[in-house]
Each structure stands twice: as C-alpha cells, then as structure tokens.
Symmetry: C2
C-alpha cells in the first residue's frame, strides 16, 4: 500500500489545531502551571500530600481559576467550555489537585448551582468559588455506588419544627468515598430519599453542615477516613454517617422538588425517576472533566515514553556495533504509535463534545444525547488511558517503574477513572440503552420494510445531530462507488462507511434480540443479561464512530496542507489499528475479506514506520511544558549517557575472538 510522503511539520501548527476554541485557556494554564509545578508527591505521607494539595487548591482559588465556569451573577465568568478546558489542563499536573478541584468546584459547587435556587446561590456561591467554604458531594453510599437511585439515606421532613431529619439507617447506607470529607469539608450536598407528608419522593439533595469553623465534626455526624488508596492520595476521601441530623427546610436544594412548610411536596417534573435523571443530567460535567484529565494524563505518559524511546538504545544491529534506538523496532512502534493516534482522535472528540455542551440551550432531546455521548466518551477515554499508560510503563522497562519518571503515579492516579463518575461498564450500557430507546419505541409500530427504512433514517438522523462536519462526512461517505472490497485502505470514505455500517448492524441485531424480552413469558432480565456482551459492543462501536467523525472533521479544519496530510496519516493509523483490534467482527460478518484483513495488519505496520520520523513532533504538539513532563528519562539524560558511552567505546580493546551475534533482536 503506497502511503503518500509526509513533509516535516512544526509542532506549533498542530498545537494550534489541538488547542482549538479555548486556546487562550490552555496557553494561560501552561504558563501558570509551568511557573509553579506541583512538587513531586511520591515520597510524601498521606497527610503531607493532602496538606500540599489543599494549599495548592487555595492558590488556584486566588488565581481566579474556579470563576470561569460559574455564573456572572455570582462572580463567575459563565464560560462553561473554558471551565471544562481548564479542568483538562489540570490533568497535566498532580491529578490529586485536579480531583480535589473537581470535587470543590465541579461536583459540590456545581450541585449547589444546578440543583439549588437563588437563595442557595446568593448564600453560598461566592464562598465556594473563593474556597472559604470547602464542601463535599455526598451521593455514593457503600451499598449503592452505581445504582444511586436506590440509595438509602433518608431526609424526613418534620412539620412540627420545619426541619429535615437526615439519617443513615444502616451500614450499607453510610456515605462512601466522599472527597473532601476526611479532612477539609465543612458542608456537604447530601443525596437522600426525601420523605414528606408520610411518603417517599425519591432522591433529593440537601446541604448538611459537617464541621464547624475550627474543623470539629458537628453533633450527629460521624466521619471515617477511607485511608490510603492506590493513587490520588492528596484527596481526603471519607465515609459519613448521619444520626438524626436536623437541618432547616431551606437546606433542600429545591430547583427540581420542594417541600412546603406543611410538608406538601411539589415538583416541576413528574415522576421520581425522570426527576432523578434530570438532576443527574446537570452533573454531566463531572464525566467530561474526568475524560479530559484522563486524556491529559495519557498525553503525559506518551510524551515520556516516546521521548525515551527516541533516545534509548538496546541491542546492536546484526554485523554492526550500532545499538538500535527503541522506536526503530516495529514492536515498540506498535506499542506506542497506534495509542498516540487514538489519543489524537479522542482529543478531537472531547473538544467537540465540550463545544457542543457549551453551546447547548435548553433542549431536552439534545441534552440526553449529550449525556449519552459524555458517558460513552468517558468510558472510551479512561479505558484508553488505563491501557496506554500501562503500555508506556512497560515500554520504559525498569525506568518506567521508578517514581521519579512519573509513570507509576500517572497509572495509579488514573486507575480509578474507569470506575468513578460512573463505572465504565455501567456507562456503556447507558449509552447502548440510549441508542435503543428510539429503536424500541418504533419497532413495535413498524413492519419489516418500515423497520428497515426506520433504521436507515435513524442513522442519518443521528449523524446529522452528532458531528460538526456533517456535509464533509456525507460527502466522504458517498464519494466512492466502487465495491468496498476494492477500496483503498487509506480511503476515508471507506473508513466512515465501515464504522457506520458496523454500528448499524450491531445495533440492529441487538434490537431484534432484545425484543424477545417483551414476549409473553420471557424473563426480561435473562434476555438482557444474555446479550450483555452484545450491548457493550454496541456502545463501543457507536463511540468509535463518533470519535472517528470528530477526527475526520478536525483534519478537515486544518488549514496547513502539510499538517493536514500528516494528521491524515495519524487518522489512518487510528482507524486501521481500531479495525485491526476488531478484525474478528469484520471478518466474521463478511465486512472484510481475509486478504483485506492481512492488508490491514500490513498497513498498520507501514503507517507505524511512516509516522516514526514524526513521533517527536506529534508528542511535541501536546505542548506540555517541560517542568510538567518532569521525568528525567524524558529530559535528555539518556542521550547524555549514550554519548558518554560512545566516547568511551572508541578507546576499547579489540575483542580476542568474535563473540558471534546473540542479541535477542
């Protein structure tokens, strides 16, 4: 497969494209963070680390950082996209600080803003923004982590005193893993089953004070430290029990449900379940922030591993004393370069999601679609981070295991991202369910011809909604009329058709399969459970299509022709390595022939070789300031040592006998 030559590109050209709409936020964050990088934390005790992070959080508050996302009316700047972008940038520093900031301003502050009303905003927002009131987001319980709709903490209204009584009825109902709880939080947004007028009204949120100004726990509150974790030890996670704690009626964050003085419940939203998911929907930003930080950590890891791979040498070439640079080995390229390509793809998908959310006006349908995409991208990005950072660690061998080279901390800190702010497996099911909702409603009404038409319509409709480059994608998809088996492996239209067709097929067969759940006598749980691997695949292939389209749109936006050409090859590698990872499906469903399957593997190898000379530029474009990259193995020390060796080797004695070549390469 002939690959068009790629010209050298200056990293700054790519950086401009990657930086996108909130480039100013990124540039400012780089300057601020490079000037005062977080000191290394790996030798700190838990308490020392927490202290350092809390001090840094205060510095952040002073810098005005948290204002960006809050409303102008309460001292903020009302720039949601800028706020999400600045969270992403925090991901280049100590991830404990990112999470601590996320708890204070994203979850806690965000809940007060989104679920509260004017009285809460007036009373709390400024103190929250300026960190005079450190708070917690107390949703998760020990017994209910993923299934938070069924949590068991109660908030019972007592009309005699006009108070809510907040209570932990048993051990499984204690609040679990609450950030800011073990040390710094003074107040919490507590999610509890609301009981008023003698009945339950589902989960609502209330503000419950935890500690006084001196930091002493208030009466009725018990807090336990969750203790040491795999990572993120600068965040003070704790467990909270409430023993009949009384708070005034106006502690209820009452935007979506209120209780009158006499105990009468009222809500603008019908149905506990719908109301609950509306409340959760306002918290979409948490997932987007986690995905952004995971992306940043992945970029840090790749920057370290690829810079090392460009300097580190191991084993000589046959019949030569030249030692081979690691990144010249195909196996090493295959470890790092497809992961780098997919990191680009996910970056552009994330950027597009942030932009769409930023521009969102009140529109129930698009909100749901965005929630689904945020959930899916969060799953994809955090799994990619876990996999890639692991690979980077291994690619750096023992050096990658040393704390000073940062990969261990990046791995440990991001590891929980796959299961917090929504377990990825659970989120993937939500994505699939969202895709099926339209399906299931319609399939009952339509005959098979109508169904086929509906399926086609559904996807055209979905494409229209989802990508910023609709006309481009449609043009590319339709550009080639030849049989796809003959399509060139680098044909973008073929790539797009392949991903779209796969999604259609997986979703179509899944919908048919799940219809059985509605048949008389069927055990709905068993039908769904037996198809769970199919459900997870549906979510994955859907997100893979969305990500690809975002990447294609970004390449199209690139005004510099050389940069666009190079990015095109990165996109090719992303597509074909994704296809290669799912070849069993494509082969098993007759979407590629065995000849083409082999060609895909060959093309991945060719593209790795092709992009090898551009690897430094491609990680350089992430523009992570050197003080944040920090790892000694990524800072030229290895090159210096190689030079010293070469200097020395010139004076070596001749070997008495030729040892023969016995390298492992």
């Amino acid at each position: 497969m002939p690959i068009p030559a790629s010209q050298p590109v200056a990293p700054a050209v790519l950086t401009d494209l990657l930086d996108g709409r909130w480039a100013h936020v990124r540039r400012e964050a780089r300057v601020r963070m490079a000037a005062l990088p977080s000191p290394a934390t790996y030798d700190l005790t838990t308490e020392q680390h927490r202290e350092q992070v809390f001090a840094e959080l205060h510095e952040l508050a002073k810098s005005g950082y948290p204002r960006v996302g809050f409303p102008v009316s309460h001292g903020g700047e009302g720039d949601l996209g800028g706020s999400l972008t600045s969270f992403e940038m925090l991901g280049f520093g100590d991830l404990s600080l990112m999470v601590k900031a996320g708890v204070q301003w994203g979850l806690f502050g965000g809940a007060v803003e989104a679920l509260g009303t004017e009285r809460h905003h007036d009373r709390y927002l400024r103190d929250i923004i300026e960190l005079r009131l450190p708070g917690c987001f107390a949703m998760t319980e020990t017994g209910h982590g993923s299934d938070v709709q069924h949590l068991r903490t109660t908030a019972t209204y007592d009309p005699a005193t006009g108070e809510f009584v907040v209570h932990t009825p048993h051990e499984a109902a204690r609040k679990e893993y609450i950030g800011n709880a073990a040390r710094d939080g003074r107040i919490a947004v507590v999610f509890a089953q609301l009981i008023a007028g003698g009945s339950e009204h589902g989960v609502h949120a209330l503000l419950v004070p935890l500690r006084d100004e001196a930091g002493l726990t208030l009466p009725g509150i018990t807090i336990e430290d969750c203790g040491r974790k795999a990572g993120l030890n600068g965040v003070d996670n704790g467990r909270i029990w409430f023993d009949q704690v009384r708070v005034p009626r106006d502690a209820l964050l009452n935007r979506y449900g209120d209780v009158a003085e006499d105990g009468t419940y009222s809500s603008p939203i019908e149905g506990d379940s719908r109301r609950f998911f509306t409340m959760l929907g306002t918290l979409i930003r948490g997932r987007i922030s986690v995905a952004g930080a995971a992306g940043s950590a992945t970029k840090s890891a790749l920057t370290i591993a690829i810079r090392y791979a460009l300097e580190r040498r191991q084993f000589t070439r046959p019949d030569s004393d030249d030692e081979v640079v690691l990144l010249d080995y195909l196996a090493h390229q295959r470890k790092l370069l497809p992961a780098l390509a997919t990191t680009y793809a996910l970056h552009f998908a994330q950027e597009e999601l942030v932009t769409t959310l930023h521009e969102l006006t009140t529109d129930d349908h698009r909100q749901r679609e965005l929630e689904s995409r945020a959930a899916g991208l969060k799953a994809a990005t955090t799994w990619h981070a876990t996999h890639t950072i692991q690979t980077c660690r291994e690619a750096c061998g023992g050096a990658g295991y040393l704390a000073e080279n940062r990969l261990p901390q990046l791995k440990a800190d991001t590891d929980v991202f796959t299961t917090f702010e929504g377990d990825n497996t659970v989120l993937s099911q939500l994505v699939a369910k969202g895709l099926l909702t339209g399906y299931q409603q319609h399939l009952h009404e339509l005959g098979s011809v109508g169904m086929a038409r509906f399926i086609a319509d559904q996807f055209v409709g979905t494409v229209i909604e989802r990508t910023a480059a609709r006309s481009l994608i449609e043009r590319l998809v339709g550009a080639v009329t030849a049989r796809d088996e003959d399509a060139d492996l680098l044909d973008r239209g073929w790539h797009l058709r392949l991903f779209e067709d796969r999604e259609k097929h997986v979703l179509d067969t899944l919908a048919r399969r799940l219809r059985r759940a509605g048949e008389p006598g069927a055990d709905a749980f068993e039908v769904f459970n037996a198809a769970q691997d199919h459900v997870l695949r549906a979510a994955r292939v859907h997100i893979e299509r969305v990500v690809l389209e975002a990447f294609v749109a970004a390449v199209d936006r690139c005004a510099d022709p050389d940069a666009a050409a190079l990015l095109g090859r990165v996109c090719d590698l992303h597509v074909l390595s994704t296809v290669e990872a799912d070849l069993d499906w494509f082969l098993g469903h007759g979407r590629v022939s065995t000849a083409k399957a082999k060609a895909v593997t060959g093309a991945v190898n060719d593209l790795c070789r092709h992009l090898r000379p551009h690897a430094a530029v491609l990680v350089g474009a992430f523009a992570i300031p050197d003080p944040l990259v920090a790892a000694p193995i990524a800072s030229g020390a290895e090159r210096d040592r190689q030079d010293a060796q070469r200097g020395h080797d010139q004076d070596r004695l001749p070997r008495k006998e030729d040892s023969g070549r016995a390298t492992a390469s």
Copy 2:
C-alpha cells in the same frame, strides 16, 4: 451447545491436584505464613517498609526456608522443585519479601552456587543461606538492561598484584536497579567484561565487597538509592559505581572461565557468546520464580474479586426489588471467569515446568528447551497477571482502589514483573528464535517435500519432548476423524489440533519470511524487524499450545470423576476464550468458519454461566489462608451490610408513586 452438568466438588479435591508433587511444601508454607502474615505495608514509609522486610527476611532465614534449594553438602536440602515452589508460595504474602528473598537466595546465592566453584561454596554458601552475608546480583547497567551481553563494566586482571580491577568507565555503565544495594547488601556478584592478557573475554562474574560489617560503603564504591518505585518498596534497589576497585584473583566465579596467575585465560566453553548464555542459563530459576509469584498474586486478586462479586449486589431486576449479585451479570462473569480458567491453565504449566527442571540431568539440548519454555511462560504468566489484576481492580470498583483491599498493592508490586528478569517482549523473541533455530538449520538442506515432512516431524518431536502426557495428547489429537468444522466445540482433540495447527502455520510462514534475511543484499535487521509482530505471535501461540497440553494432562491426572469433569469445563473455558481472543487469526486463515466463530462466543458465554455456581469452589481450591487474603471486601463484611439493609428495608414506607425502572442493567 449442550454442556454436561457439573456436580458440586469439594475445594480440597481440587487443591490436592493443584498442590501436586510439592504439596508438603505448600501446606507447610500456608501454615507458616498464616501464623505470621506480613503486616500491611501501604502506610509505611520506604524506610519503614524496607526495615520490616529485612526483619521478615531474617525470620525466613531462621525458619530454614532458604536451605531447601541449596546443595546438601553446604547445609541445604538439594530440593530444587521444593525451592521453586516455596518461592511461589511467598507470592501470597508481601511481594517485596518474595523479591528480597529472590535476590538473596535465588540470584545472589544462586550465582555463587552456579557460577562459582568449591572455594566459593565453602567460603560463602552457609553465610548466604543464614543471611549473615546479604548480597547483590549486580548485572543490569543503566545502558544495558535487556542486552546484558554488551554491558560495559570492566574487570581487568593485573598480574603485578594478582588482582582484578573492577571499574565503571562511564555513566551508562553504572550498575542499575540492583536489589539489596541501597541498604543491606554487603557484597555483590558483579558482572563485568573480563580483560586479561591484553584482550577481552566477555562477561564474567566476580564477588566484590560493597560495605563493611558496620554497613559503611567501602573505598572506591559509590552507591545511590533508586528511590521510590511503583511498588516493591520493601526492596532497596540501588545504583553502584566502581572506581578502580581491586579484588583478589579468586574473587572470580570461575566455573566457566578462569584467569591464571600470569593472566592466561582458560574456559571449558569455546566462544564468549556460548559461554555467556551458559552462564545465564544457570539463572533460569529467577524467571521461574517470577512466574510463580505472578501466578500467586493473580490467584490472590481473583480470590478477592470473585468473593466480592459473590456478595456485592447492584441494581434491581426488572419488576422486582431484588438486587442482583454482581457475578450473575454476564459482563462480570466474562471479566473474571475466563481469567480464572487461564490461571488454572498457567498453574499446571508452571508445575510441569518446575517438575521437568527438577528432574533435569545434564543435557544441553533439554536445558535450552527449558530455558526457552521458562522465558515464554514467564512472559505469558506475568502479562496474564498484569491484565487480570487490573481487571480485578476494576471489577471491585472504588472498593478495589482502597489500599486495605490489597488490589492496588498487588497491581503495583507485580507490574514490573513483565519487564524484569527479562523484558517480556525480548523474552518472546528468544522463544521464537529458539523455535526457529532447528528450522533454519534444516530448511537450507531440504526441498519442499522434505521441508513439509520436516515440519511435521519437528512438531511431533516437540510434543514428545514437552508434555508429560504424550500418549494422552496423541490419542486425543487423533481421536476424531470427522471434519473439524463439524467438531463439537468441547471436543478436546479439536482444541489440541487447533492450537498445534496454528503453531505450525505461524512458525512455517515465519521461517519462510525470515529466510529472506539470508538472501544476497538483504538487510537482515530490516527483514527481522518487519516481521517482529509475526515473531511475537509465534512465541505466543507456541506457549499457548504448551499451556493447553499441560492443562489437558492435569485434567487427565485427576482421579475424582466429578472434579475431573468440572476441571474439564474450566479447560473448555480456557481454550475457547483463548480462541475467541485470537478469532481474527482463526477466521483470517480459514481455520474456523464464521458460523463456528459465532458459536465460540456463544460457548464462552454458556461456559461462564455454567461455571458461575462453582466460582467460589474454584477460588477456594487455591487455598490461600484467610489471613493472607486479608481484604475486608473478601471477608463477609459486604454480606453483613446487605443483611442489615434487607432488615431495614422491610420497615420502609411505601413509595408514593411507582418510580419506573431506570436501572442501567
């Protein structure tokens, strides 16, 4: 696909089979370790952890543990298999202690024993066994980690004084990552290029004192602490520089090469390279020990994750208030049960390898085959550990991220296993190279008919050498004459044929491809490098066949029919999930039809469901004592909380309205 019903089996029956030949060593270790489990280390500073581990190492020495593997003539018991098994058992405790013991008695003590001669044995072995002389194994250098044949430390013989001068010529030649160096080691086996009589003789090992009895570093020695690592922080890794350090002539471990008083070099082995690999070959035990410990850590992680999955509930069934046990979800079964099945498979392969090594008499050919198998199994087992422990962490959600539940430590400690004692990617290439050696020698001599015959012969020969159950395997392989497309998915003969055929094909095509390297004008490095993914696949499929045959042999050894039947299903799940992971190859090479490919996925689901009721027994059979499992989530706390919730829920108020079902499942 109908799966024969499996009867309940007592875990002890399986434990007997798993415990195998060195059952007495395992039982003794369980009792000893359960009586005094390592205290939790996650809150310790590096220094505290090192102190604790060194104290535990002294306890081990007192218990007589290290004696098992050393020769009877020097206070040992001469039981190599027992020694390797007891290393494996240490893997159920603090892995820092396992590695520290491995450095002292496996690497350092093993090198003195294997590379030294009587004078070294007499002088050092007892002190080593009894830990009066803590030592290091100083092979790796900063510039040469994998390619140790080219390390740069020199040992130059000075006939004027009868001494060797050990020297670090430049920064890349400093000794790197040396266990026991930063704190406790008093002496080191140092690997250096031997220079005598004015020429180099390749890498040899010498004993070089590092510290005096008071622990002070000796003149000419500089030691630096490697500092904090991702895990294994109870091991004091350090860097060592030698500045013209003089040691007497008899410091040379001279079994494979000696220097006379006048500087004349002599060796029983011709050729630097062959000599070097003979010296390395004696260190095969290190790789086997790492594989064993990785297996133990994997068993610990699976025990924790599966016990939790059997008690943890999340989300209600449709139209019910019953919350579903995690392991009832197909997605959760798929995360844990195939990994459990492969853990069984690798256990039996490891056991077989230990037995074969234990019984080995001097036989050059079998030694090389065993080295290759040890390298391949080490790669397979440690990658499986990394993958499985990661999965277990995720399967336990936030609870899996808490240090008290041990998964973070298991993950961090074992993470380096994939790259130490040989980087897995490098080891895999050694395996492939070993398989090809015979090939390449023969292919030049044979025409195509002869080659085909040779290929067939080669594999029969290989099978004969490798498995303890040769006649069984041959009977099974030959048992079915029907077309394989029609073979039952649980047909063991089909499994064996499928794996053997894949190995033949991959190796055959690889051999043809690599022959090009010998053609005139070919760049041998480029030819080899372009095929590197093919090379890695060859190693993997070879090891997968070896592992499968070991599992099949173990099922055959099982005298209890119910246990054998259950193990048969575990073996089926291992085989079919391995096939599923490589379906792109089997489909792409016409080895399974698309219909059969779908059936494989269905069968994996069916086998997961089938084994679900036996999951507790299958992890129980590992017989890890409760004080070593240790994690609170694996000890019934979750069940107690579920009970408390159920008790409480009986008194709950009725909901005012049906909330509708909105679970993610």
